[in-house]
Amino acid sequence: MPVVKVLTEGIGEVNLRDIGEYRKRGGYEQWQRVATTMSPADVIDLVSKSGLRGRGGAGFPTGRKWQFLPNNGRPRYMVCNCDEAEPGTFKDHLLLEETPHQVIEGMLIGSYAIGSNHAFIYIRGEFKRGFDIFSAAIEEARAAGMLGDNVFGGEFSIELTPHRGAGAYICGEETALLNSLEGKRGEPRLKPPFPAIKGLYGEPTVVNNVETLAFLPHIVKNGPEWFAKVGPEKSPGYKIVSVSGHVKKAGNYEVPLGTTLRELLEIAGGARDGRTIVAIQPGGGSSACLFEEDLDLSYDFDTMAAHKTMLGSGAVVFFDDTTDFVKAAHALVRFFAHESCGQCTPCREGGHWLELTLERLLHGGGLDSDIDLLVSVSHQMTGLNLCPLGDSIEPFLASVVKRFEPQFRRYVKHAEPATV
């Protein structure tokens, strides 16, 4: 089975929180090489050639994102996104806590590439322990001369500030994150302008996921071809996949993109005894379901998109034949309703009414027409919102209503509206 160890190398074997351990294994060598022998353009070129695509959800090519920054002489900011709150995703705080120096090294290389002298990492409020571990690691790195003024005696200076959120999924969306980092409510901003043009404090800003940045030292070390030749041509490289749900061994597994869903299932110990997998949610709570006949699909950005779903954050949930999909839909719809920031009417009201409709079904007061209502409301709220959260209910809900309609019908008690 193709489980690999790139980002997860050494986790569980040695204490990588300790900078000495990290350096013994070659840690910070790539940062030193970049800062002392490479130009920012060299680094961007390397990353573009590697084909690295963002691991935060949208899969946007990282090198290209960096090239959007205008050359206007303004300060620039690098922001690492560790808000990790997409249902089913639990890989970023693994890296944050277990190998913080790898994340720091990636942030330093990324900052150098885009010419940022101040980088931030936005850490989800719930990860209090992770925040403490990471803050200590930053101080260790500073003491070792890895960051600060004129690193390695050169001209580049870099400051790194950890920032802790306070509970709000929407702060993972990059513009909401920037507002939150500015000390405001975490409400997404209208785009354009994109953060590359007007981001933190109105200046050019890059927001990258933890996993995306953690790959940078490895790409610098091994060269872009090493990454580009793994997996599908347009969706290359490795990925930490968070597998959960009805499997025997849920966990984070690092694999080459292009591994099949069936292989992922086997890696995670397979289905529970005597059960069969009937559905797969391949990319976090916002993604549409795939079904048992799709198990042999290649797990990569483009194959998932071609099947009307997405790889998203790399959270794969397997559902077996005991699943009540009305309750599964309720769990996710309630999540999005709860996490709506409330700026857009379709997202705020649509989510709330879908949650109530599902509760009416679950509490035995459902109407025949409720099934159509679920489909039509979730469809009508899509595409009318400031940010993708408002469009996140329809994919899963519509896909499971279509596939498992009898399960939803089973809850219907009234063919006609109940009289009061």
Binding site: R124, G165, G183, A250, T322, T323
Partner: protein, 262 residues
Amino acid sequence: MAEGRVAGRAVAERDFAAVLAQVKPEAERLMALYPEKRSALLPMLHAFQNVEGWLSPEAMAEAGRMLSVPLSVVESTASFYTLFFRRPIGRYMLQVCRNLSCRMNGADDVMAYFRERLGVGHLQTTDDGTFSYEEVECLAACDRAPSMQVNLEFVYDLTPEKIDELIAAMKAGTYEVAPLPQTAMPARDWHVGQDTGRKSPGGQDVSHPNAPGGMGDPSGIDLIERLARSPYPIEARPTQERLVREGAERLKHAPHNGEVEH
């Protein structure tokens, strides 16, 4: 002024000047970290909450003063985030995951068990002021479902036995996670606004344990059988008295020291 009491345990009289003296150096360090000092708002609110156990109106006002942000804006900002507690809470904040992977692995039973053992529901505090309880969204620990956080420390693979041990240890004061500071009496409903009192069309508390059981029960128990098992009713408990008492306390400390009209 009278000392507040929580279940016979004296709660030190709130001395905000002391709190401020403790937080101020940290607040100054935080403001220097950012190109614009308002960025220090969330970290500063965390700093106050770490000392007081909750985010008091005085703390919000002081943060606003230091950052030159109006109090209304500080309150509006704080209210956006679920981890800022704008009312006093218990010494142990129990936050149990209610999202997909946990519910697929028995979280509905775990939530029902907590409610029964504690005698409180979502967003409530026990009468002795020890436990606050909340059902929260995915905690990024789905591989160890069902999972929760206790004062923001993770607890994994929850079972009834584990919950019993946890509660017993917290009550005995031997639990490995330190209790939160408690500088004021918690009311039963600690959450201001948002979810409180929401009802489903069926008239039930939206996440009531009487609602049908979990998805894909790991023990393989039939859904019908789960429904037939005894539900866990939550007794409606009187809260008026405590709220009135708390309100009177608060007024005593208010600058205008006004009379309470009934």
